[in-house]
């Protein structure tokens, strides 16, 4: 769950990654158990396994088009500031989860 403003930021980040690093596509996903829940991205998905890095405990970035440690390091460097902002947004939007064991709305 992200705001529209964050969505636009993420799309812009992904577009910049695609342009600067010659990627075919890039997208952010929220980590929810085994699920990588799509948040926003840019480019067209190609058949094949996307590269994936965990940017934080709750955020992953996927991309198609280049691989290797250098690409990973480059991507991480470019996203340092963004990650904290998205984490905050995710925490805010997911807030209000019911507390297990307490029927506070029932």
């Amino acid at each position: 769950m992200i705001t529209e403003a964050t969505r636009r930021t993420l799309e812009a980040k992904c577009k910049a990654l695609c342009d600067d690093c010659a990627l075919e596509c890039a997208y952010f996903a929220q980590v929810l158990g085994p699920r990588r829940h799509y948040l926003a991205g840019h480019g067209e998905m190609k058949p094949g396994k996307p590269c994936q890095i965990l940017l934080s405990a709750h955020l992953a970035l996927f991309w198609h088009g280049s691989s290797g440690k250098e690409a990973e390091a480059d991507v991480r460097n470019r996203l340092n500031g963004t990650v904290r902002r998205i984490e905050r947004d995710l925490a805010n939007r997911d807030a209000g989860l019911p507390v297990p064991g307490r029927h506070h709305h029932a």
Binding site: P34, R36, G48, P50, L97, P100, H103
Partner: protein, 497 residues
């Protein structure tokens, strides 16, 4: 929980549900008179009009557009067998075009049959003393999961009745499903079929990483709905259920699944209900249904309506329903369950463009661990007609030329919701489906298959679909072969794209 506390919970929740209904901001997408008029106008269609709709449906397979309601009304009124032949052929063509010739396999896991509702057609209804109900303890759940994992299942639909602890229990049990490991076996995708929730509750369920949230409207015809779901029960609230998946989307659950219980009302009306539901979700959230299910009303213990409904459908009509769903919503997964007989399932897979099926299913709570082969009607919601084991079912699929698939890659690689839809709508998802199908099927053959299934799988099915990949996705072919070799030589598992 005592009966008094359960009743108090239900009454408080019902009050909250009704407040939500009063304050809802969504406009109803079901106009009963409008649907009836569409069906009237669609009567006695000429063959040219039907041919045009068939062509349109074929074009939609690569754009993801839905058919228009008037088109569906026309198809639902076709009587000419030759035209039906063309519709069935088209359903299969669309399925091949979008998903390829694979069938994704899953197991239903009945986690809890405790339910406060009293639906006239359901064996688990609260007023039916002849079916024993219960909820799995965490130990019992683990036993069930191990039984499933040991035969090769990777993908579940976890089924829950509506009860005070539902969403918290769902969270705990889904997390538990993902923790179970046995040898190379594990559950990789847990979808849920459960009652409608409030947005904050959906958020909790979302946080544990479910696959798809599935809620069947049962019937879109309000008078029928109200007659079958008693007033004063939670399920008696039509709008609450109608917008259940809208609320799920609001909570960030972007893979949602529709369904009808075929046989409660006129199937032609229900098809249009499904279409309007899909359109409403697309319009509000840009993401349509991940799957559509169409379970048919089946006999259940001490449940006369299940056998006597005036709207029960014949096998012929059932075939038509499945095919029209494929034509009207080309991108959606289409789920055909083991309620149907094996012979009918064989026909409907092809005639209806089915993409997902269950096998070796048990639909009693605790059924997998307790039953090797037989079923126990007094613990089941209804009776199953296809009791083939998973291995037998898979072998039959292979002999019919299909690729059995245990693929769960998409949602673990971020291909969910708005990221998944373009792949399905532009018919490129099959490039992932077939490659992942081959890899997961190879896992099954290596770890779980009988000799007979392994033979046909290795000698016929895998080579056939490697040829398909060579011809259609050549860039992926060397990677698929490399992954197959890693699985064979280095015991790697869960290799996917």
């Amino acid at each position: 929980m005592s009966a008094t506390r359960t009743a108090t919970w239900q009454s408080k929740r019902l009050a909250r549900v009704r407040r939500w209904e009063t304050q809802r901001t969504y406009d109803s997408f079901i106009d009963e008179n409008g649907i009836h008029q569409l069906l009237m106008r669609g009567r006695c269609p000429d063959s040219k009009a039907v041919d045009d709709i068939i062509q349109k449906a074929r074009q939609n397979a690569t754009t993801g557009a839905l058919l228009d309601p008037q088109d569906v009304a026309v198809l639902a009124n076709v009587e000419d067998p030759q035209l039906w032949h063309a519709i069935f052929e088209t359903a299969d063509w669309i399925k091949q075009k979008v998903y390829g010739n694979r069938i994704v396999l899953f197991a239903p896991l009945y986690v809890s049959s405790l339910c406060v509702n009293n639906c006239a057609y359901c064996g688990f209804r609260s007023g039916n003393p002849e079916v024993r109900k219960g909820a799995l303890t965490m130990d019992e759940l683990r036993e069930e999961l191990l039984s499933l994992v040991k035969v090769g299942h990777k993908r579940l639909i976890m089924v829950y009745g509506e009860h005070p602890s539902t969403y918290e229990y769902m969270c705990r049990t889904v997390e538990s499903a993902y923790r179970v490991k046995h040898g190379h076996g594990e559950i990789r995708r847990a979808n849920v079929n459960a009652a409608p929730l409030f947005v904050d509750e959906y958020k909790a369920v979302r946080s544990v990483g479910i696959g798809t949230y599935q809620i069947f409207q049962e019937t879109y015809h309000r008078p029928t709905y109200e007659a079958l779901h008693p007033k004063g029960t939670l399920k008696g609230e039509f709008e609450w259920r109608l917008f259940a998946l809208h609320r799920a989307q609001e909570a960030g659950i972007d893979d949602v699944a529709l369904g009808i219980l075929v046989g409660l009302y006129d199937w032609r009306f229900e098809l249009l209900g499904l279409l309007f539901h899909a359109k409403s979700l697309e319009q509000a959230f840009g993401v349509g249904p991940h799957t559509i299910s169409y379970p048919r009303l089946e006999p259940a213990v001490n449940t006369p309506l299940a056998s006597d409904s005036p709207h029960r459908v014949t096998d012929d009509d059932f075939r038509k329903i499945v095919a029209i769903i494929r034509l009207m919503c080309p991108y959606t997964g289409s789920i055909l369950t083991a309620r149907e007989r094996p012979d009918l399932r064989r026909e409907v897979i092809r005639q209806g463009g089915v993409s997902q099926m269950d096998a070796g299913s048990r639909i009693a709570v605790g059924g997998y661990a307790r039953m090797e082969r037989d079923h126990i009607p007094d613990r089941q919601q209804f009776l199953l007609a296809d009791t083939r084991s998973l291995d037998e079912f898979i072998r039959d699929l292979c002999l019919e030329g299909y690729l059995p698939s245990f693929c769960t890659a998409g949602y673990r690689e971020g291909r969910t919701g708005a990221n998944f839809m373009p792949l399905a709508k532009h018919a490129t998802v099959k490039n992932f489906c077939i490659a992942n199908g081959v890899l997961t099927f190879q896992e099954y053959l290596t770890d779980y298959a009988s000799d007979a299934t392994r033979r046909v799988g290795r000698e016929v099915t895998i080579p056939r679909y490697l040829d398909w990949i060579d011809a259609n996705v050549p860039s992926l072919a060397p990677k698929v072969r490399a992954n197959l070799a890693k699985m064979e030589q280095e015991s790697h598992r869960d290799l996917h794209f």
